[in-house]
């Protein structure tokens, strides 16, 4: 994306900001404020004008501190965590902190002063922590200097706490609100010249502060993108060809022309049609009634059976990509006195965010605007510019808090592209496009399908001496980032098995190790799904470790520990989970434990599940203990919330999640056929955070991957039968069938 735009912007900057947080109802006006001239209202009350001290910090005369958050908020708590980090260095009053989202257009106009907007890969905090803390620290230095100048004393004689500045020798005090206008005129110090606080001394960061965005989520006042209302707005319902790769041939506008509220059906692109009407319900009814002719193409022959066979073939294919090849694995397995082998599989999954995809646009010949839930505001801006044909500086994106992201609302921005194509056909008219749940579930970028064949050799002493991991399945990079998937070499599909430390390193040392990937792509669109490939790879490895431990006649925990001497951080987290769960201590009759550990997103995770299996095969997960080392724990309560959510996300995939393909299209299209875990099935979750303060790891994703294997291993312990296929089969039925 170009960053070469020049524009006189800062003096107008507030026009473009979206107020997003704290005050109940504060977000309500967003769609309304901008066209109706918030600027004018602000200009009429210059005394109350907020002062931008620097890009990150705006201070109001009443000492309210507005902290700018470039990353998206989708429930993961990044908005609150980043505000805590800025507050920590700024030394303002946490009780007077609110937040706002700078707009991507404003950021480009200001040479990307807020850095990256992308919010994925559990990077929201760990990638921006340094510059946002420095942003807060720079503002603090400027505010203190302004007070020092006012009193004509050295800044070194000043202290500050909760936004109140004190001149220690005289006891004089002032506040950030009073000195902000003078501070804003000062030349900022070099951010790199400032020494940040030792995280062990944190007072606001590192503490379980309440979220800043909860209040408007309790009374219906938070305006999600789907709730946007603009004067004269029309609504659009949309239908993409049910078969991926198929085409739109024609549709018959005459058949719906007389339906209530309908404007007309429009071609969106080569595969998609939409109906525009006065309300979304009218648009949807007309779309359902619209005669549409599709050219479904060759892909209409594809079925899940074909796809499964295609993926299975990769398990034994020759000449595949070997990411790791240490020792002589195949020979070592052949020579081992005990051999173990197993094949696992996981299906396509949908993100199923609770807020379906939607986007509101207003396109005129010289301006394009979008109101949208996006994990990447800059990607949304780029899509808006590309599709509208207008240069970036004539485009703007207003970000809303997302009703769920999980990777669906990241780079692709397909729904923004569609909305712009509709909006262009109604120049000057705001168009709100909303996908039905059925559209959302059948036109996702799915978690890719894969299978894995594991083979191991165990020596006479019960040690794992050789391990072959062969993953076969669809590549995300091959679909959306082909440069990273050349010649079938795609390390990302082997996430979690890496040799290199720091990101997603395998936690075991095995003298003979072969880690291979057979790329087997399909016609189904794929993309990152919360936890991406750590979920499947963690399941494959950790379920197999239990099978290997059983063959070695070892306790699953001790079997793992013996391989982890060179990976002390992995081991410490595994031990923390085992200790908290009381591994090895007696359980109530019928309850069994399973354990798992894995690494992703720079963080170390482990889980212990306590599970019972009824005589009817019904699996009940009673309790799960999860341990996480994410380096620094910015908000322990929100980390716990993410871990609890990870358990629910992981258990939905364990018990229910499966999309199948028939006639080239996704069969399951709503929550009755793609069930999600509900409250009654939620186990008690205990979170153990063991930060080591020597790195910054992610939080939103890394713990999902240990959920399914811990549960499956507990079922294995309960029934004696390994579970190798998700979603979970009824273990008793599977046992009887075997």
């Amino acid at each position: 994306m170009s960053t070469s735009i020049r524009r006189k912007a800062p003096s107008l900057s507030r026009r473009r900001f979206i107020v997003s947080s704290a005050a109940a109802g504060g977000g309500l006006a967003i769609g309304m404020q901008l066209p109706f001239g918030i600027e004018t209202a602000a200009a009429q009350r210059p005394a109350a004008a907020p002062i931008e001290v620097n890009a990150w910090v705006v201070i109001k005369p009443d000492d309210t501190c507005v902290i700018r958050i470039a990353r998206s908020e989708m429930g993961q708590g990044t908005l609150t965590g980043l505000a805590q980090l800025v507050t920590e260095e700024l030394e303002c009053d946490w009780n007077k902190v609110t937040t706002e989202f700078p707009t991507p257009g404003e950021s480009l106009a200001r040479k990307r002063v807020w850095g990256e907007f992308g919010t994925g890969g559990s990077r929201g905090i760990r990638i921006s922590e340094d510059y946002v803390r420095r942003g807060g620290a720079v503002a603090r230095v400027m505010l203190l200097q302004a007070a020092a100048d006012q009193w004509n004393v050295p800044a070194s004689e000043l202290t500050v706490a909760n936004g109140v500045i004190t001149h220690t020798p005289t006891g004089r005090t002032t506040t950030y609100g009073k000195v902000a206008p003078a501070a804003a005129k000062l030349t900022p110090p070099d951010p790199k010249s400032i020494t940040l606080k030792d995280p062990r001394q944190w007072k606001v960061a590192g503490k379980p502060m309440k979220r800043l965005d909860t209040a408007p989520k309790l009374n219906g006042s938070l305006v999600y993108a789907i709730d946007v209302k603009l004067p004269g707005m029309l609504c659009a319902a949309i239908k993409d060809c049910p078969v991926f790769g198929g085409k739109l041939v024609s549709f018959d506008n005459a058949k719906i022309a007389a339906m209530p509220g309908v404007k007309r059906a429009v071609k969106v692109n080569d595969t998609t049609v939409a109906v525009v009407a006065d309300t979304w319900w009218h648009a949807k009814k007309a779309l359902d009634a619209l005669p549409i002719v599709w050219d479904e193409g060759e892909n209409a022959k594809r079925t899940s059976a074909d796809i499964d066979a295609h993926v299975k073939e990769g398990l034994t294919a020759a000449n595949v990509y070997a990411m790791r090849n240490e020792g002589d694995t195949l020979a070592a397995i052949a020579a081992a006195p005990v051999k173990v082998e197993a094949v696992y599989s996981t299906p396509f999954l949908a993100h199923a965010t609770m807020e379906p995809m939607n986007c509101t646009v207003k396109i005129t010949p010289d301006r394009a605007e979008a109101w949208v839930a996006t994990q990447n505001g800059e990607a949304a801006l780029a899509a808006l510019s590309e599709q509208s044909g207008l240069p970036l500086e004539k485009c703007e994106v207003y970000k809303h808090i997302l009703g769920g992201g999980f990777g669906r609302r990241g780079g692709a921005q397909d729904y923004v592209r569609q909305a712009v194509q509709i909006g262009k056909q109604f120049p000057g008219v705001p168009i709100k496009m909303i996908w039905s749940r059925e559209e959302d579930m059948t036109h996702d970028f799915y978690r890719p399908i894969s299978q894995c064949r594991m083979a191991a050799g165990i020596d006479a002493a019960g040690n794992l001496v050789a391990l072959q991991v062969r993953v076969s399945g669809q590549s995300i990079n091959a679909f959306n980032n082909q440069a990273a998937a050349k010649d079938g070499r795609d390390d990302r599909q082997l996430q979690g098995y890496y040799e290199k430390p720091g990101d997603a390193q395998l936690g075991y040392t095995v003298p003979n190790l072969l880690v291979e990937y057979a790329m087997r792509n399909t016609h189904v669109p794929v993309g990152p799904w919360r936890g991406v490939n750590t979920n499947q790879n963690g399941l494959y490895l950790e379920c197999f470790m239990d099978e290997a431990a059983k063959a070695a006649r070892k306790d699953p925990l001790e079997f793992r520990r013996a391989l982890m001497g060179k990976h002390p951080k992995h081991l410490a987290v595994l031990d923390a989970a085992a200790e908290k769960a009381g591994w090895g201590t007696p359980l109530p009759p019928g309850v069994h434990r399973g354990i798992a550990q894995f690494m992703g997103y720079g963080s170390y995770s482990a889980a212990v599940a306590e599970v019972s299996v009824g005589a009817d095969g019904k699996v009940k997960v009673h309790r799960m203990v999860l341990a996480l080392n994410c380096g620094h724990a910015v908000n322990p309560d929100q980390i716990a919330a993410q871990v609890e959510g990870s358990v629910a996300y992981g258990l939905s995939a364990t018990f229910y999640g499966e999309l199948t393909v028939d006639k080239g299209r996704i069969v399951e299209n709503n929550f009755h056929t793609y069930p999600i875990l509900r409250l009654a099935e939620m186990p008690k979750v205990e979170t153990v955070i063991v930060p080591t303060f020597d790195f910054w790891g992610g939080v939103g994703e890394p713990t999902i991957c240990v959920v399914a294997p811990a549960v499956l291993n507990a079922i294995h312990a309960a029934t004696g039968k390994p579970m190798r296929k998700l979603p979970l089969q009824n273990p008793v039925a599977a046992l009887n069938k075997a």
Partner: protein, 160 residues
Amino acid sequence: MAKLNINGKVRDVTVEADTPLLWVIREQIGLTGTKYGCGVAQCGACSVHLNGNVVRSCAIPVSAIKATDRIVTIEGLSPTSATPIQKAWLALDVPQCGYCQSGQIMAATALLAKNPNPSDQEIDDAMTNICRCGTYQRVRAAVHLAADSMPAAKRRKSAA
């Protein structure tokens, strides 16, 4: 034309008889706290109260609503979020993305109105709304917290 009593205010709306109550609330009345999640009464994001009972408004045609029926949406509970459920939700930071929480709060409020001291099993049975972020552990804790915050006499009555 239909007459609807929503949050104590009677409103005339002009819609086709088969329009789901959800879309009347969102698009005609303009109250957007009630959410669309599935359209088939599966997820509960659209939950509102109809004469004190929690219902899924996406699957109720407006023609099924009588002028005497009392509809309450999330906006009708307490604009300052002062009900025991809303206060408990705030105290435990229940919401993550928040999109399903209007429905969760409506379901929990209806539960406590009928059963001021629900057991875990009763919470399991009553709270069937989908939350994709997985806030269930806190939803359960907040229902208990709200119940505990209510006058003891009311709770004893229910337990008896």
